[in-house]
């Protein structure tokens, strides 16, 4: 999972540079930092980077609420 975490953090920083230094925070969806556009951008980037296809049923606020939960999701999909 650690392999994915750094890439996920970089994707988040590209989208929201203001997260610099705070990439480990949670509440990304709950606090309204990530909107639906951001989530789709993250999904397409993860598909490019890891060939991880995130289907709609996996797109839940909990799965996208922190860099760690996103990396866990990638890990889960690739090990399914």
């Amino acid at each position: 999972m650690e392999d994915y975490l750094d890439v996920v953090k970089q994707i988040l920083l590209d989208l929201h540079p203001e997260l610099d230094g705070d990439e480990d925070r949670d509440g990304l969806v709950a606090d309204g930092i990530l909107d639906s556009y951001d989530i789709i951008t993250i999904i397409t980037q993860l598909a490019d980077e890891f060939d991880a296809v995130i289907t709609a049923d996996k797109i839940t606020p909990e799965n996208f609420d922190s860099a760690e939960s996103i990396a866990e999701l990638v890990d889960e999909i690739l090990n399914e």
């Binding site: 639906s36 397409t44 296809v53 289907t55």
Partner: protein, 551 residues
């Protein structure tokens, strides 16, 4: 049966007495009977549509549920003998089979919605094309009436079927429970679009009810009545006059119509949802909130996250996300990344393609006509432009931060909220006028000074003349109102604003019921008296159905 009719109040009181006195296990069945009784008032023929939808939903969800259970059992039983690859293939085959069942369910339910809602729209467009190619043949319109609430309950149903397919919820095997989820009466007039996972527990497994839910629910219903009858139906008089006579009411009248429609729509839709949530609460059923102070939004995208929330999240979860992660969009995205386009553009284009489809569908959901489709696409355009200009805004604020006005300051927030309301009011003209050409002509008249013409001739001048008034008084008479109406509408707007401000710090009803007895009773009596005394009844007023009921 209108929510704001004596018949509904009588029905609600009688229903509550029967429901609360009945044994707990019987309550879901009583609620189902009440819901069908309520729905039958819209026309017995409507019942056929909701019953057919229920049968399809029940069969499809039970079938998918059984397939899931069978798969889980098989995998559990054979976990020691199946190789990982075999288990994966078995899962994939099961998913494909369940998808086929889901597609049948979607085709039947969405097909029904498409037939009743879009047949005449399709025929009208075919006839226009036939006209264009010079054909004299015309297809007669089918004239199918739309059953009440079908757009709302079909969307709830589709959400339920997809959630069962995704294994996010376990379907009920009780057909009466499925029927109750689809027909729960407070939601049949104008939604919200409830999710099975959110509401099924309260509906099927009722808990003993105390007086608290009755008090809080009744207060919410009363507040809904006040919004609808005192504000929305009063503003409706002027809005109907202005938008119903676009040749007469131009220029400044159009601006007045836009402002009054913003007020009317807010009071009407949020008032209706207050009645829905309040009525459901009195039965012990928690219905999700559909609004979070939408007029305080800083931009249009934020507004759509706070207005008609259940519709927005429905489109996000069942259209936007599935489409964004589908193979076609992934292919487009891959091709764009390999192209010479800048990285940001390559990332954004697939998102915008999906978003455009969602807004097209949102427009079409609101109504089978081009004005609604254009309305949807303009919403998309505004959001897209706003997103694309975001880096520019950030640079601007970075450069002038603190020297002009900070983006997190109260004046800037007020400016941003006002800007959002103005943009949305302009877009909503397509809804008010109901026709693309008339909307553009009315909008254009704001800048071409059509006011003088309108004030001097026809209905507007006639009304002003009859009232013997000039200046502001003449203007008020010309739009079908009087000073009393204006005072009520202004006071109503101030109260709505104040309540919204209070809501930011938590439940207003919670604080009201915690207040000293005299204050609490005084406020409740004041709202009730306002509904009775200032409600827009009698000659000249059209106590109408809720605006969103027609969608």
């Amino acid at each position: 049966m209108l929510f704001t009719s004596y018949a509904f109040i009588g029905f609600l009181c009688a229903g509550l007495i029967i429901y609360r006195l009945a044994p707990i296990k019987a309550r879901p069945y009583i609620l189902l009977a009440l819901s069908y009784y309520f729905y039958a008032h819209a026309g017995l023929w409507c019942v056929i549509f909701i019953a057919s939808t229920t049968v399809v939903t029940y069969l499809v969800t039970v079938k998918m549920g059984a397939m899931t259970a069978k798969r889980k059992k098989y995998l559990a039983d054979s976990k020691d003998i199946l190789a990982k690859e075999e288990a994966r293939n078995y899962k994939a085959r099961d998913k494909r089979s369940r998808r086929r069942v889901l597609i049948v369910g979607l085709l039947l339910t969405l097909g029904l919605l498409a037939v009743v809602k879009y047949t005449d729209f399709t025929i009208t467009n075919i006839n226009s094309l036939l006209d264009l190619v010079g054909s004299e043949g015309k297809i007669p319109l089918a004239g199918i009436l739309m059953p009440m609430g079908i757009s709302f309950y079909i969307f709830s149903t589709v959400g339920y079927m997809v959630d069962v397919y995704r294994e996010a919820v376990t379907p009920t095997r009780n057909p009466f429970h499925t029927a109750l989820f689809i027909s729960f009466f407070p939601q049949l007039v104008q939604g919200p679009i409830s999710r099975y996972g959110d509401i099924s527990k309260d509906l099927f497994d009722p808990k003993p009810l105390g007086i608290e839910s009755l008090k809080l629910g009744a207060m919410r219903v009363l507040w809904g009545f006040a919004k609808k009858l005192v504000i929305a139906d009063r503003a409706l008089v002027a809005v109907k006059l202005i938008t119903g006579n676009p040749q007469e009411y131009t220029g400044i009248y159009v601006v007045a119509g836009m402002a009054l429609y913003a007020l009317e729509l807010y009071a009407d839709f949020t008032g209706g949802i207050d009645i829905t949530i309040g009525a459901a609460q009195m039965f012990g059923i928690g219905v999700k909130e559909n609004f979070v102070r939408p007029y305080f939004s800083k931009n249009v995208a934020e507004y759509w996250r706070r207005w008609h929330i259940t519709m927005g999240t429905w489109f996000a979860d069942y259209v936007f996300y599935p489409m964004s992660s589908c193979k076609l969009i992934r292919k487009i995205s891959g091709a764009l990344k390999k192209s010479r386009l800048p990285r940001r553009a390559a990332q954004r284009i697939p998102v915008y393609i999906t978003s455009a489809v969602v807004w097209f569908a949102t427009g079409l959901w609101h109504g089978a006509s081009w004005n609604f489709i254009l309305w949807g696409m303009l919403n998309f355009a505004v959001i897209m432009i706003s997103q694309e200009f975001e880096p520019l805004y950030a640079r601007f604020h970075g450069k002038f931060d603190g020297r002009i006005v900070r983006p997190d300051s109260a004046p800037y927030k007020a400016f941003a909220a006002t800007r959002t309301i103005v943009i949305l009011s302009c877009l909503r003209m397509l809804d008010c006028y109901g026709d693309v050409g008339t909307t553009f002509s009315a909008f254009g008249s704001i800048f071409t000074g059509g006011a003088a013409g309108a004030a001097g001739t026809g209905i507007a001048a006639g009304a002003a003349g009859a009232a013997g008034a000039a200046g502001v008084g003449g203007f008020i008479s010309a739009v079908g109102l009087d000073w009393f109406d204006v005072v009520i509408l202004l006071a109503g707007t101030i109260i709505l604003f104040a309540v919204s401000m209070l809501q930011r710090k938590g439940s207003v009803r919670g604080r009201l019921f915690a207040a000293p007895f005299a204050l609490r009773v005084g406020i409740i009596i004041a709202v009730a008296v306002a509904v009775v005394l200032f409600g827009a009844y009698g000659p000249g007023y059209d106590v109408g159905q809720f605006i969103y009921n027609r969608f």
